[in-house]
Symmetry: D2
Amino acid sequence: MPFVYERTVRLADTDAAGVVYFARTLSICHEAYEAALAAGGIDLNGLLGANGIVVPISRSEADYKRPLRPGEKLRVSVTPEPLSENSFAIRFEIMKLGPPVKLAASARTEHVCTAPAKRERAALPAALAAWVRAG
Amino acid sequence: MPFVYERTVRLADTDAAGVVYFARTLSICHEAYEAALAAGGIDLNGLLGANGIVVPISRSEADYKRPLRPGEKLRVSVTPEPLSENSFAIRFEIMKLGPPVKLAASARTEHVCTAPAKRERAALPAALAAWVRAG
Amino acid sequence: MPFVYERTVRLADTDAAGVVYFARTLSICHEAYEAALAAGGIDLNGLLGANGIVVPISRSEADYKRPLRPGEKLRVSVTPEPLSENSFAIRFEIMKLGPPVKLAASARTEHVCTAPAKRERAALPAALAAWVRAG
Amino acid sequence: MPFVYERTVRLADTDAAGVVYFARTLSICHEAYEAALAAGGIDLNGLLGANGIVVPISRSEADYKRPLRPGEKLRVSVTPEPLSENSFAIRFEIMKLGPPVKLAASARTEHVCTAPAKRERAALPAALAAWVRAG
């Protein structure tokens, strides 16, 4: 069962077309990823440079299938997939709650563990690697 | 020659990892697209519902190759590509100005013209279609 | 008892200084206001022009007292105050949950009901006026 | 003569009410402040912790006078004011270019130099103090 994150669309997510701004959809996915990490006992701050490593996103893809309006309720599923000892992917599905429930967007991000001081790839921290495998 | 948009990285573009937040890279691409439309004499507001059509993004892809820090100067190229009478794509390259100049990210968006009242695809407005072909 | 909204600080809220970007604090307050309206049975979309009125923010003030980091948990209280038949204010307090709990920021916004077509102020919708008085 | 920053309203600045989201107005002011610092030869990154000091915003006020729509052109003036050896304020005026030119918003921010390691206020760096006095 993938991790699930619930979220209401807020005015700040939208633009003058009246619906969620496309890039903000990816921010909502990243929020869900952060919540999934926290639920897995992994401290996001440890992936932002504090331990000599960072795990930035190297690639994103998203399909925007339905417009999302202020006040609509979303459910985001988060499914990690191993790629290598240095990297993993996350698949996201954003469902618009209804009834009926409908797929609003899907996305996929790739994350690469890097040691900035050495300018080279690094092995994923053990806890993060375990979380990815358990996904 | 593609349209080129220049932009400085601002604090609001970045996150606690010290570099541009991944989804914000796509916002910067969209800014460049808006500037390209304006340079082509096309009013963005006419694509946001005012004329009974909207031209939302249906898909995005991005590769994030180098971190971007506050104050760094960027040059974004915007290259439209026709897909169908209802749709087109835009290719973006974000160069970090140097010296040396380096490719920081590339992205591609797909845009589909839709008539929301009819819930169906619509032909691109003539001026927009011409702009895409000229790209 | 004021309405209370809980929120976790997300990476997208922060900037390269490692903490929440100042203006984003006001976005978090506005999210809390939107949640308070929804809890009071008021549809935000009805305040965005659909009924011939808008209720934009005419003024904001905020005091930023403590830095907020990714993953920190916040509790935002929302207290409306009547100003006139056309306007109201909202006071916000953002507490950082601990232990110990600490005041991280306080803010105040003023909202004015306007009829854009007439370019003049309009009376608050009855349900919104009642929500403000009940605050 | 205050420093002046020009900016076009972008879709990402707006929300479903069709105009610039209130908190984003403050982000636009901060962009102007960053441009003013750069024009004064001051590196923003030096104020984000690299030198053992940070200069966060402790207070903001803003009056939102006119709605701003996608594609509109803005001119932001930036006027620093000394407050103490540790702090300063900035006044901003956002003019909507026309014709006619109209005041769209005004804002004021307060900035306090702090040494996070000592958890106490610190003197402004000399170059920043000189920039404030010259304002």
